[in-house]
Amino acid sequence: MTHAPARPRRMSPAEVRARLGEPEAMIEAKIRDRIDDYFRLFIAHAPFLTLATADASGRADCSPRGDYPGFVKVLDDHTLAIPDRPGNKIADSFRNLAENDGVGLLFLIPGLREMLRVNGRGYPTDDPDVLARMRTEARTPELAIVVEVAEAYFHCGRALVRSRLWDPASQALAEEIPSIGEIAAAQFGLDIDPGLLERTLQDSYRKLY
């Protein structure tokens, strides 16, 4: 006799807190309310971050941002700016920010286990002095996201150690995934040459700005 798989049990917040215990005081103390010199140094060397936003109803979204190290500009001790490079034009982040200005950032530096987390309030800008600092390959972005920093802290590296994210041997994992052209052809049931899709995508990667 077979049963439909049961939905996993939902815990109450009190149960979760009881199971995990109270956070250590040191962890709470490491959270700062400004971008100090060490955070600045980290941001100046980070070529990648994830940007989390949510709409008014709580529908959440996380999107990647990447460029040369230091592409996120520290405008002052309380303010960052993230360039908006050409992407898929879905603009989920901007749609969310219009309803709910909460943002969560996670910065990564290749080879480094520890991460930087910054939380705050975000809004879009076209301030020419901000955009001028983001000009790359003779192109200036149309928009940037300004983040008013509420919290900043270094996140311990256990997740990166466990995931072996920076271990070159880990890159063998990529070989297990079919090309995105093959996947797209299958997912959308397209009667199209996956190689052609792949080449089209490769071509689009030639123009990054």
């Binding site: 100046a44 040369y68 190290p69 001028a132 600092r133 983001m134 003779a138």
Partner: protein, 305 residues
């Protein structure tokens, strides 16, 4: 890839408000020789490459000296140097290039504005050593923002005039022109308004300028063209929305690049045929073009790649 030289940052020091000077020592021996007016590309740890004029002594083959002003609108070059570079850091630099060479003349007038003093420093020294009359007019906002003032006054005090523009206004170029013999050469490096004033005052054939920023101009809309790579026999299509530099790079030709806006000269390509449309601020010599900005007037260019 262009040939790079390994250096170690031996000294970094603030020499004026917002200006640091750096001494880059050859890590594995003497550095490539250079002439006054030359600049190098500096490859920064944050993947950015920036151009800086050499402002030390060309006779010193062990080290290059550069000076960098912190640009408040920095995209990450000058800001990185000012905030994060520390003594002992290794830095790769290009071979020196010179678009601003000192041509023999019976008299020289040097005009420098702010950090534009850097290429002028070794030029002034060389010109003075040649025994002909020389003078330097060096403008900066206020005394605290003017780098190398002491060095200039102690070495060439009798021919140097330093003008703090906040208190004394901009130097009167017309008066300077009337004091010069007609075959004197004028070398100018500084902010755009100073270059424009120099261009309005001195005849073009007597004036040499060095730009750190491109001039804003408008061009006819881009048209597509073909680049025939003579050595490999391949033809690369350059669409209207792509630069020749990007098209060549994407086709697998490793053309070096620096500023990507036609001022540094890193991406020089040898031209074997076709009509180029030069859009750089360097002044491409015959048979050369700068692939980052320049395009074609003819449907086809033949390049030596």
């Amino acid at each position: 890839m262009q040939q790079m030289q390994h250096t170690t940052l031996d000294h970094i020091e603030q020499i004026a408000e917002g200006v640091v000077s750096l001494v880059l020592r050859g890590t594995t021996g003497p550095l490539a020789p250079w002439e006054p007016g030359a600049h190098i590309d500096v490859a920064l740890p944050n993947w950015l490459t920036r151009q800086y004029s050499l402002c030390g002594d060309p006779a010193d083959r062990d080290a290059y000296r550069i000076a960098v002003r912190h640009d408040p609108l920095s995209r990450g070059g000058s800001e990185y140097i000012h905030r994060f570079l520390r003594r002992g850091r290794t830095l790769d630099v290009s071979l020196p290039r010179n678009h601003f060479p000192l041509v023999p003349a019976p008299e020289y007038l040097f005009l420098a504005g702010g950090i534009g003093i850097t290429p002028i420093l070794p030029m002034l020294r060389a010109a003075a050593a040649s025994g002909v009359p020389v003078s330097l007019v060096y403008a900066g906002r206020s005394p605290a923002t003017i780098p190398f003032a002491d060095e200039l006054l102690s070495l060439h005090g009798d021919v140097v005039r330093i003008v703090a523009t906040r208190h004394h206004g901009r130097p009167d170029l017309t008066a300077l022109r009337s004091a010069l013999r007609p075959d004197a050469l004028v070398y100018c490096c500084g902010p755009a308004p100073m270059l424009a004033a120099a261009e309005a005052t001195f005849p073009a054939e007597r004036l040499h300028v060095e730009r750190f920023q491109p001039v804003t101009r408008t061009y006819a809309p881009n048209t597509p063209f073909e680049a025939v790579c003579a050595r490999s026999g391949r033809t690369v299509q350059v669409p209207p929305d792509e630069s020749l530099l990007d098209a060549l790079t994407h086709a697998g030709y490793p053309v070096p690049s620096g500023c990507r806006e036609g001022v540094c000269g890193s991406c020089e390509v040898t031209l074997l045929g076709g009509e180029p449309e030069h859009r750089d601020d360097i002044g491409a010599p015959a048979g050369r073009m700068y692939a980052c900005v320049s395009r074609a007037q003819s449907p086809q260019l033949v390049v030596d790649l």
